[in-house]
């Protein structure tokens, strides 16, 4: 039969090791937010690169038909608009340092999440339709000199790729992004709520 004193001495004899320093802890917390910013920036960079490549194609390739130019212009406009929307979205989370202004950062994070959802749900279909239209015009001349087998192959691959992006890849991306942001928002909400309750 043990007494409470024995329990207390047992507790105090159990030495625990804190495995993290204050610097590590703070940088780790900052990293979570930075990775969302970096992903968003990569996304914009990829779109900007596509934009530059298609503009170069329009300017430096000798196309004869107006349909090709129309197709490329439609694609360029769609990519440009999407890039601008993504950049506008990126600016929402770029401005705040969450460690300095947690509440402001939290509300911006929520707006960012909502925008992301709108972009990949409603706006995505406008983007996909515009791209499809652009490709139809573009292929009209470009595929003309190829054999029917190649024509069918390229068209089938394009349709397959766009369908894949619109369904499985889009849904997977949305789900992953939502989970990441939910986790981050939940964490900041816990922090804010606690201080509202107890301060």
């Amino acid at each position: 039969m043990q007494e409470f004193d024995h329990i207390q001495s047992l507790w105090q004899s159990h030495s625990v090791e804190v495995k993290i320093s204050s610097d590590e802890m703070l940088s780790q917390a900052k990293k979570e937010v930075t990775s969302i910013r970096t992903r968003s920036l990569f996304n914009i960079f990829g779109m900007a690169l596509s934009f530059a490549a298609i503009v170069a194609l329009l300017l430096f390739s000798p196309f004869n038909s107006w349909t090709t130019q129309t197709g490329l212009i439609i694609i360029i406009i769609s990519v440009a608009i999407s890039t601008l929307i993504l950049y506008k979205d990126y600016r929402i989370i770029r401005q705040n340092d969450f460690t300095e202004h947690p509440s402001a950062f939290l509300s911006r994070l929520k707006i960012y999440q909502l925008n992301k959802f709108t972009i990949y749900n409603k706006l995505y279909w406008f983007y996909a339709t515009a791209l499809s239209l652009g490709f139809i015009f573009y292929f009209y001349e470009v595929l003309n000199n190829l054999s029917p087998a190649f024509q069918i192959g390229i068209i089938a691959f394009t349709i397959f790729w766009m369908a894949l992006c619109a369904t499985i890849l889009r849904r997977a991306y949305l789900k992953r992004e939502k989970e990441r942001l939910d986790l981050l928002i939940e964490k900041f909400e816990r922090i804010s709520e606690q201080f509202n309750e107890r301060q």
Binding site: M1, Q2, E3, F4, I7, Q8, L10, W11, Q12, S13, H14, V16, V18, K19, I20, S21, S22, D23, M25, L26, Q28, A29, T99, P102, E186, K187, R190, I191, E193, Q194, F195, E197, R198, Q199
Partner: protein, 165 residues
């Protein structure tokens, strides 16, 4: 900013071990305790400017840690604590000894207490003054004394029960 960083480091070095022990006692799991420690000190860092010296800084940090522990388990829906505390022995076979077994039993017994009682008793075990525990837990000192007496009895009973098995 440099001054704030320095102050934070000093606060972390002084309090982190005790806070980690509190979280460890509450969860019975090193990884969860580490998560809780990080979350606690992140809050400390973010709210350091709001601290107005109305209480001791350690009391303030304990209060944050207690709240963090209570919200953490509810939101994370962690696995049953007895499963976690079993890991204390299983994960460290090289350190197996009678003392380690007793320590594991202690954590297991603590895990059987109510959530609030678990936190109160870990502060008692760490010899925090009763007035500080009262402030941290938001209970009057008179009620706290009665409560602590009851928790001590319960914990001793649980520990002896487990020791007999």
């Amino acid at each position: 900013m440099e001054q704030k960083d320095q102050l934070f480091k000093q606060i972390f070095d002084t309090n982190s071990k005790k806070i980690f022990h509190l979280c460890y006692g509450y969860t019975g799991d090193e990884d969860s305790a580490n998560d809780l420690l990080q979350e606690t000190f992140l809050k400390v860092w973010q709210n350091l400017d709001k601290f107005r010296n109305k209480s001791l800084i350690s009391t303030w940090i304990y209060r944050i840690a207690v709240n963090t522990c209570l919200t953490y388990l509810r939101s994370e829906k962690r696995q049953a604590k007895d499963e976690l505390t079993d890991n204390i022995i299983e994960n460290r076979p090289e350190e197996f000894s009678e003392k380690n077994e007793q320590i594991a039993l202690l954590y297991k017994s603590i895990s059987k207490l109510e959530e609030n009682d678990r936190l109160i008793i870990t502060m008692v075990l760490d010899e925090l003054p009763y007035n500080e525990i009262a402030e941290i837990s938001g209970i009057s000192e008179g009620n706290l004394r009665v409560k602590i007496h009851r928790i001590k009895l319960k914990l001793t009973e649980l520990y002896n029960q487990h020791a007999r098995i």
